[in-house]
């Protein structure tokens, strides 16, 4: 069998983080009872007029700027006509002729190195209503209808499920960074349609493509692509023909299925929306929105390495989620210079472990950057020892508060006063003659046991490093 090339393009629908719908002031609060956030505009009543949400335009332009798009100075809206009960006015307001953003792209990491995935355009449109399918009838809930959706259309630059996944994840990270969307897959904030085709190596023209819908998890996107590539290759291998069609991913069956489709189903007869005037963006307006953009994740990683002297690996982990990076930076800035790596260690081990155990995000926890910074300082200044600090961090994570206050209140400060420590060392050595003999016989590990005994006698408050030195000195004298 000759080799085949795989071509994948994605249309990613992203729900924008606005308070209200695209063309009316109905709330977008998630999880409300059916048909509570509706009005004549989003119900599609004849004569009701749409008025554009400025914030949705702003967030789309900001996304375009983050993704390196060219922003259209003059943008218009069009009607996409179709008959389906999820859109009761029988057309969706979308953008076809003059979308808000053109071009741009995302860089993904592949085993062969970085790869640029080009974006064709980004347009703004309204979401449809939710249809619930029951055994003998269907029901419509218009709460979602009119939600601002940004559709990011990629060029067919992707050539494997891994690349497609890397692209969606990179896109998600950038959009969450920019604060334009929560990209919460469970709430349907990010949905993908995928176009996919195969062609023999050496053939210039792309093969006939199938479009797959209904993938709402990263796992679903990956599995649907794997299945569809195998299906198309098998079809071609047995001499079959790929037909241009829309297929639906069925997660429970683990396969894509052809969707019933009428002839001319894709002739939407787009025409200019007469109820909305064009959006004209002056360069000053675009510049003002550009000034609101945060750093791209890749730029932030580089800066954190340079600014705090942390390894690239740490910067990658911390910058992965914007709020983690924000927390880390806030904490480091409160610490004495040179403690970047220490703060990073605490965050990446203790804090991230707690986050993963509790399934919370850092903003949902009472731990503050100031508390973490103080904890790191207390350890660094040898006021408390490591084990005490770990216990405190667990408590701060759960209940909040400041570590310095807890240390003072409970007398947790570590004992590094030589007189007191020497007393403990004497006691430990007297009580463990066997260990002392072992040490003399060459079992150096016995010293560690004695340090442990001293820690125990001090109720965990001794400075382990000081104890180590004292025990070593004492043993050397006994030898």
């Amino acid at each position: 069998m000759s080799k085949y090339l795989i071509t994948i393009g994605l249309e990613t629908h992203v729900q924008l983080k606005t308070n209200t719908k695209m063309f009316c002031g109905c709330s977008l609060k998630f999880g409300e009872e059916p048909n509570t956030n509706v009005c004549p505009v989003c119900l599609g009543y004849p004569g009701a007029l749409p008025v554009m949400n400025r914030e949705a335009v702003k967030l789309t332009v900001m996304s375009g700027l983050m993704l390196g798009c060219e922003i259209s100075r003059l943008s218009t809206f069009d009607r996409k006509n179709y008959f389906y009960p999820d859109m009761s006015k029988d057309y969706q307001i979308s953008q076809q002729a003059r979308p808000l953003c053109l071009g741009g792209g995302v860089t993904i990491q592949t085993p062969a190195g970085p790869k640029r995935v080009r974006i064709n355009h980004i347009h703004l449109e309204e979401d449809a209503a939710k249809i619930n399918h029951y055994a003998r009838f269907s029901g419509v809930d218009f709460n979602r209808c009119g939600t601002p959706l940004m559709e990011i259309v990629s060029e067919p630059d992707l050539s494997s499920p891994d690349e497609a996944l890397a692209y969606v994840q990179a896109l998600k990270q950038i959009l969450v960074y920019a604060g334009v969307s929560d990209c919460n897959l469970e709430e349907g904030n990010l949905r993908c349609d995928v176009n996919i085709s195969v062609r023999p190596e050496g053939q210039e023209q792309l093969g006939t493509r199938a479009e797959i819908k209904n993938m709402n998890t990263f796992k679903g996107i990956y599995a649907a692509l794997e299945y569809e590539i195998a299906r198309q290759l098998a079809t071609v291998a047995r001499g079959g023909v790929i037909v241009q069609e829309t297929r639906r991913w069925e997660p429970d069956l683990g396969e894509t299925q052809s969707m019933r489709s009428k002839e001319n189903a894709h002739d939407y007869r787009y025409f200019p929306e007469p109820d909305l005037v064009p959006v004209a963006l002056a360069s000053e307006q675009i510049a003002a929105w550009k000034a609101l953009l945060p750093e791209l994740p890749s730029a932030r990683r580089e800066r954190m390495v340079a600014e705090y002297g942390i390894p690239e690996y740490d910067a990658g982990v911390l910058a992965d989620a914007k709020e983690n990076a924000d927390f880390f930076e806030a904490a480091v800035r409160l610490c004495s210079p040179g403690l970047g790596k220490t703060v990073s260690n605490w965050f990446m081990t203790e804090v991230m472990r707690q986050l993963s155990v509790t399934g919370k995000t850092i903003s949902e926890c009472p731990l503050t950057p100031a508390a973490l910074a103080e904890l790191v300082e207390l350890v660094d200044k040898r006021v408390i020892n490591g084990p005490t600090a770990k216990e405190l961090s667990a408590e701060l994570f759960e209940n909040g508060g400041m570590p310095g206050v807890l240390v003072a209140k409970r007398g947790l400060g570590q004992v590094s006063d030589s007189g007191a420590l020497e007393g403990f060392v004497e006691q430990a050595i007297a009580a463990n003659a066997k260990s002392v003999e072992d040490y003399r016989a060459g079992k150096k590990a016995a010293a560690g046991f004695l340090v442990g005994q001293v820690m125990k006698l001090s109720k965990g408050k001794a400075d382990p490093q000081r104890v180590g030195i004292l025990v070593a000195e004492k043993l050397a004298r006994l030898a």
């Binding site: 048909n35 509706v38 009005c39 949400n53 400025r54 269907s138 809930d141 218009f142 969707m259 007869r269």
Partner: protein, 96 residues
């Protein structure tokens, strides 16, 4: 410049059932209208920006502020049938 206008096709897209007589009538009427508009093509329009909207306005926006929605009972009052608080429909198969 001449557009092919197929009333039967457009009627199908718009879910309109037309008799053969109606199709002929509308075909002729709409062709007349389209031909009338096409007269503009006789002018030299090079360098003239297309008109994007009937009104010489741009940037009509609203602020992103929630306003009260309709009372749900009013919304559902005209529904031929309801399922709880949903509009009830005959069972539909999802189209592509």
């Amino acid at each position: 410049m001449s557009h092919t206008l197929d009333v039967a096709y457009v009627a199908e897209l718009a879910r309109l059932e037309l008799s053969p007589d109606e199709k002929r009538t509308f075909q002729l009427q709409l062709e007349t209208i389209v031909n009338y508009v096409e007269k503009i093509g006789e002018l030299d329009l090079a360098g003239i920006e297309p008109t994007l909207h009937g009104q010489a306005l741009v940037n009509v926006f609203r602020e992103d502020v929630v306003v009260p929605s309709l009372d749900r009972e009013c919304v559902l009052a005209n529904a031929p049938e309801r399922n709880g608080f949903e509009f009830k429909l005959p069972k539909i198969v999802e189209d592509a």
